[in-house]
Symmetry: C2
Subunit: 299 residues, 2 copies
């Protein structure tokens, strides 16, 4: 699973530099630092930063150029997991087989660690902009990338999906609502990752639209696959209890459409993602591979 | 108190436009919107956005030019209050005499409303940058303003102060720690407001340093005054119980230095703030006035 060499290479790059943009350690706020680092160091697929770097590379640009943005998007994803796991939210004790942040550091620190990671993400991107003040073309591309990420994680993106997800627990779940949650909670940030990487690399408007369509379909597919894993996954591989979503009355694809139709939808979304790339197929081998692998993933 | 005409004029401007940068209402996330709006509409002094607009104006620039940044900084301040009031943090039921956000909307929504306001702050500033892509001088100034705010609210700014503040509750409080908390929890964002306003207006390096020194001293004075109000304030005016800090073992100035020395320190910081302005005194009447008023404030 996701053992493609290009994936491993980019994952190595992300993990090697993931702590580079955290604030320097300071004795009076060391538990904040430890708590942020704890969740960043937890095993993860690193899908969002890897897609961002790969999109930058697809344009012919050195992925190291996009590193602050790749790390920023993983900080944002990680903050969302820390807050999502809090007792007032999903109340999870374990994530990827390890105690959740608030179980280790306490709720107050976990809340602040989430806030800190979100702030650090924007601080890292804005610091990067300062380095390009005298390179107008690169600067514009980076501002567009930052804005794309801000939109993806914001109130008309990831946070909208999270509030709808929480509220759905006390509602009869409709197809429209599940669509809304998938598009916002998951797809928005994945789409933002792919598009931001494209901007940083200097992609033209046509390629940006290709990347946007790919990212959106891949993001939706990713969440359908996640929902399906909850129903029929292998607990040893996913690290999560099978059937957890249903017992929490979560708004998922299989709840609304059943397993079979969800599996067909996953195939369809994967095909859409691949179709978006058709013109760039020979240069976009990595994107083809990752879409295929994610559609059959086991964890 | 704070009834200076310039203050009222800028406060009117802030409050008139404060909701302008929130996301459009969306049926599936309406409680998020309502919750963010609830806390933004609560009465507040609006010190940070007013200082930002005034600093922009001091440079001779129309304060409307700085509006997205002024609103962004009030979103950031408001998010910090929502998260600070949560049961896992200060566990406050009332703020400015009204039920706190989580008391009205529940903890999950309050956490997301805080996250949403922080994200929206950066989204608003980054959207503003997109409008200036073809105006290189103004663009640089605005990037510097954004970075200043990002730093002020981040892990080497406001959040560092918050984690130290929380942790101080279980420690013997030292003078060094109180200084750290004041500098980070309060002064960092106030300093950022003043400096960001200066950048947007096109202040030169010398004026930026003047504004920085003023903002830092004013921010420190603001927190000493706040600590003093907790000890000797009028509950009817402050809307807070007198002696609350001491009963929570908060790291405050009077706890370490006593009331009398704290009052002297407040005078000294106010004088420092005014001294920083000396060269600009005739243009900076508003800043002089606000420093004086804040040093004798009753709420």
């Amino acid at each position: 699973m996701l053992d493609y060499p290009e994936y491993r290479r980019l994952k190595y790059l992300v993990e090697k530099h993931l702590l580079d943009f955290l604030p320097e350690i300071d004795q009076n706020s060391i538990s904040l630092y430890d708590s942020m680092r704890y969740s960043l160091k937890a095993e993860g697929k690193r899908i969002r930063p890897i897609l961002l770097l790969a999109a930058c590379e697809l344009t012919g640009c050195d992925p190291m150029q996009a590193l602050p943005y790749a790390c920023a998007i993983e900080y944002i994803h990680t903050y969302s997991l820390i807050h999502d796991d809090l007792p007032a939210m999903d109340n999870d004790d374990l994530r990827r087989g390890k105690p959740t942040n608030h179980k280790v550091f306490g709720e107050a620190t976990a809340i602040l660690a989430g806030d800190g990671l979100l702030s650090t993400a924007f601080e890292a991107m804005n610091k990067d902009l300062l380095l390009y003040l005298d390179q107008p073309v690169a600067l514009k591309q980076r501002i567009r990338a930052t804005s794309e990420i801000a939109k993806g994680c914001g109130c008309r993106g990831m946070i909208a999906g999270q509030i709808a997800d929480i509220e759905a627990e006390s509602q009869v779940v409709s197809a429209e609502l599940v669509g809304y949650i998938h598009a916002n909670k998951t797809a928005a940030l994945i789409e933002a990752a792919v598009v931001a990487g494209g901007y940083i690399g200097g992609a033209n408007a046509e390629l940006i639209e290709v990347l946007r369509s790919y990212g959106e379909n891949l993001g939706l597919a990713f969440q359908v696959a996640d929902d399906l894993l909850d129903v029929r996954g292998n607990e040893a591989l996913t690290g999560k209890k099978v059937g957890k979503d249903e017992s929490h009355n979560k708004a998922t694809f299989p709840v609304v459409y059943g397993v079979e139709r969800s599996a067909r939808r996953l195939e369809e979304l994967t095909e859409n993602a691949l179709a978006a790339l058709s013109k760039y197929r020979d240069k976009a081998e990595f994107f083809v591979e990752i879409a295929r692998e994610l559609s059959i993933r086991q964890n």
